[in-house]
Amino acid sequence: MPSERTEPLLDVRGVTVAFGGFKALTNLSLQVPPGHLRVLIGPNGAGKSTLLDTIIGKVRPDSGEVRFAGRVISRLPEHRVAGLGICRKFQAPGVLEGLTARENLLLAARRDKGVLSILRPPTPAEQTRADELLDLTGLTGRAAIPAAALAHGEKQWLEIGMVVAADPRLLLLDEPTAGMTAQETAQTAALIQTMAGRHTVLVIDHDMHFVDLLNAPVTVLHQGQVFREGDLATLRADPAVMEIYLGRPREAAHAQA
Amino acid sequence: MDFTFIAGQLFTGLSVASILLLAALGLALSFGLMRVINMAHGEFLMVGGYLTYLAAQWAGPTLGDGYLWVAFPLAFLGSALLGAVMEFTVIRRLYGRPLDTLLATFGISLILQQAARHLFGSTGVPVTAPTWLSGALTVGDVTLPLVRLFVIALALAVLGGMWWLLNRSRFGMQVRAVNASREMAAALGVNTRALDLLVFALGAGVAGVAGVGLALIAPVNPTVGAAYIVNAFLVVVVGGVGSVLGGAAAAVLLGFVTALAEGFTSVSLAQAALLLLVVAFLQWKPRGLIPTTSRALEDA
């Protein structure tokens, strides 16, 4: 369901981020229209994680700005950014280990997150939503167990459930299939494809097999800049893209796969 | 407020800075590099003081003032050994739990204090500075006590030694590697467990040496360590955790601020003001004077 509007939902404009003397991002620009699915690849150190950090407000750009739905967000604290509807799933499962699976989902599903309004117990709608997601992620039987006691795969699903419960407008996924089997990877890819349309999704990964399954436009980052954009087939044919992966046999192998 | 007084206060600033630095240098290793908050650090200073006393008792009759040269290695080795035992038995089990480490080491500090009381009595023991340190240098009207100059020199020597060890030696390279990324350092063949033990023992040993210097100008008794511990932590925090030179800069800054405040208000009011000033400073620079930018630190 591509949007009619031309204005991008996420608009990164000329962002530069430096750590000490090292420039992690150099004048980087990137637009993602509402409802689109975009994949970000690039060799290690290309700046993928720094870009996500900048979008969610963890890192402040030295110059340039990040706009979300037309609003500059690159000076907002993280929780405000999150409040605007940007949700990030980290590489490592980011569940809240001291809470039960159900409490994790309830907190994610909450709309009002202020200190005073938090005293209100979850609404029936939020409760229903949490139970639905428990059911759908197959965690109903584990609902009352602290998340710390869940198996690794269960944590991954719980977190995906949390992301879904939060119902974000922009979803940032950082290597969502790390540690998954081939079958799980395929299912996750299918899930992400369905999410696009209602949500805008930006995926980082370097598992080319997974990227292939996503079947979405790809942006290649290199040395903190956008190197190429296009669909995966075109990029594969591009010798320059192969070039930047050289010296990194594992990823090169993936790229050829 | 004449010139002599102001010059005297400037020297006071330097003296206070040297003491703060001595008290804090060991912490720069254990807290700064290993993120271990050791509330028993003050007791290593105390141990250094008592070992100075013992050195004077044993070596004094034969060596006279030369006991001091026995005291330094004795205090270093004694404190380092104690530090190693502490790391091996307690701290090792608590890595990654900084708040628990704080509590456990506080317990150890209580035990060490009480042990000192059992061994040496609750009254302090006398330590007298060698006679060649008893005079004073006079520059114009300003008196510079030799023992103060000696403590300043000692602080500089320990600082220099630590700087060399951390930045120029192979040991220091390994320490910095572990500080940057424990896993990577381990993968590169660094024995991180042994290194932790060594760094902690070294920090304790440095505190022991500092204790020798402090014994020359302050009492040696079971509770003397507690008098230094909070200020020592403040020096490390203000300087920037993980930065030895930052700690030195912080010690100088706090030393001069103290001297200035004491020069113009009452001494005990200055102490309260200093503590508030440190908290205000951290508002401005929460990561200290010389912040260390490392991912490892951020996650800590």
């Binding site: 980011g94 001291g98 409490e103 907190l107 938090i118 005293l119 699903w157 | 608590l94 909070v230 309260a272």
Partner: protein, 359 residues
């Protein structure tokens, strides 16, 4: 909601304690009243440390503010009208300092006991958490602030009575503080405060507020990315801890008939933490009970073997964190449950197709 076993145990214990004046002698009752007053502060530590993960070594600051607020009122009440408190006279102070004036009024004093420590805690927390100062830094800074406060109290003798502290009280709200009947009444008031602190805090922590605190303790960043502002929640938790410490300080001052800087110093604040750790830092009942039993044990052991006491105390600090990180409460909570079956190794748990359909 069905009451939890913890709530039932708490209720039973409170009931037993309510009848203590009938079966305890005068001294044990006095002692029990005092440690119960302190246990209110322990409940605050549970919120701040056990739940929100903030180790404050400066709870004595808020405890002291509550205690001094009340003590100033009691001192003014015990001073003949028109006179200055005796220690001011002995220090050459000639006019009542401005910040003493409001404490002539009992309602204002009670208001101050409830708001001043909480407000101070809020300010301290705001200063720290808005700059994202965390972990051991918070511990060091709170300890430094407490030290600054104590140093000021000692130094500003004409205003605070210095090391001697404020003492020699006569009446409170018209009640003679030195009559034996008052001891009993004060005991019940204290017990009611403990019950209120335990019940109110437990109710509060049962709301999603408690869950967010736990979430922040376990993973502050993740909580932030879920859209919660950890600083705001930590400030709230810290204020609650400050409020409870302040109430505790005021009660303790009433029990003891004096408050002085030494009562609120670093040793006090650390001891508070270790008894909470022993009882179980995450358990309200555990930490309150830990404090009460710990203090009672201290009273007995330090009488019998004063030399051994510091060894016992030191060993407790070490053993609790090494062997019993969740305290006695954690030990008790773990035992009754049947051993858990080993968790399934990351067995493929495919996302059912419905998840995607539901989107």
């Amino acid at each position: 909601m069905k009451p939890s076993p913890g709530a039932l145990v708490t209720l039973a214990l409170l009931l037993i304690l309510a009848f203590a004046p009938l079966y305890l002698g005068a001294y044990p009752l006095t002692l029990l009243g005092r440690v119960l007053a302190l246990s209110v502060a322990a409940v605050g530590v549970t919120v701040v440390w056990g739940r929100a993960g903030i180790l404050s070594l400066g709870q004595g600051l808020f405890f002291g503010l509550g205690g001094y607020a009340l003590a100033m009122h009691l001192k003014l009440t015990a001073t003949p009208p028109g006179d200055l408190p005796d220690f001011m006279v002995y220090n050459g102070v000639e006019r009542l300092p401005w910040f003493w004036a409001p404490f002539a009024s009992a309602p204002l004093t009670l208001l101050a006991v409830l708001t001043l420590p909480a407000a101070a805690a809020g300010l301290v927390a705001w200063l720290m958490f808005r700059r994202r100062i965390t972990g051991v830094y918070v511990s060091i800074i709170t300890q430094a602030l407490l030290l600054a406060f104590v140093t000021w109290l000692n130094g500003a003798q004409g205003l605070t009575s210095g090391t001697n502290g404020i003492t020699d009280f006569q009446t409170f709200l018209g009640i003679d503080l030195r009559s034996p009947g008052t001891t009993r009444g004060l005991y019940w008031v204290t017990l009611a405060a403990v019950a209120l602190a335990l019940g109110g805090t437990a109710a509060l922590l049962r709301t999603p507020f408690g869950q967010v605190l736990t979430a922040i303790r376990d993973n502050e960043n993740r909580t932030r990315f879920l859209g919660f502002n950890p600083a705001a929640f930590k400030i709230a938790a810290f204020m609650l801890g400050g409020l409870l410490a302040g109430v505790s300080g005021a009660l303790y001052t009433l029990h003891l008939g004096t408050i002085s800087p030494a009562m609120i110093g670093t040793a006090f604040s650390l001891e508070l933490v270790v008894w909470v750790a022993l009882g179980g830092r995450a358990s309200l009942l555990g930490s309150a009970a830990g404090l009460v039993l710990g203090q009672l044990a201290k009273d007995r052991v330090s009488s019998a073997a004063p030399d051994a006491w510091l060894y016992v105390m030191g060993a407790l600090f070490v053993l609790v964190v090494l062997v019993l990180p969740q305290g006695v409460a954690g030990l008790l909570a773990r035992r009754p449950r049947a051993p858990q079956p080993p968790l399934q190794p990351a067995a493929p748990s495919p996302v059912p197709r419905e998840v995607s359909d539901a989107l």
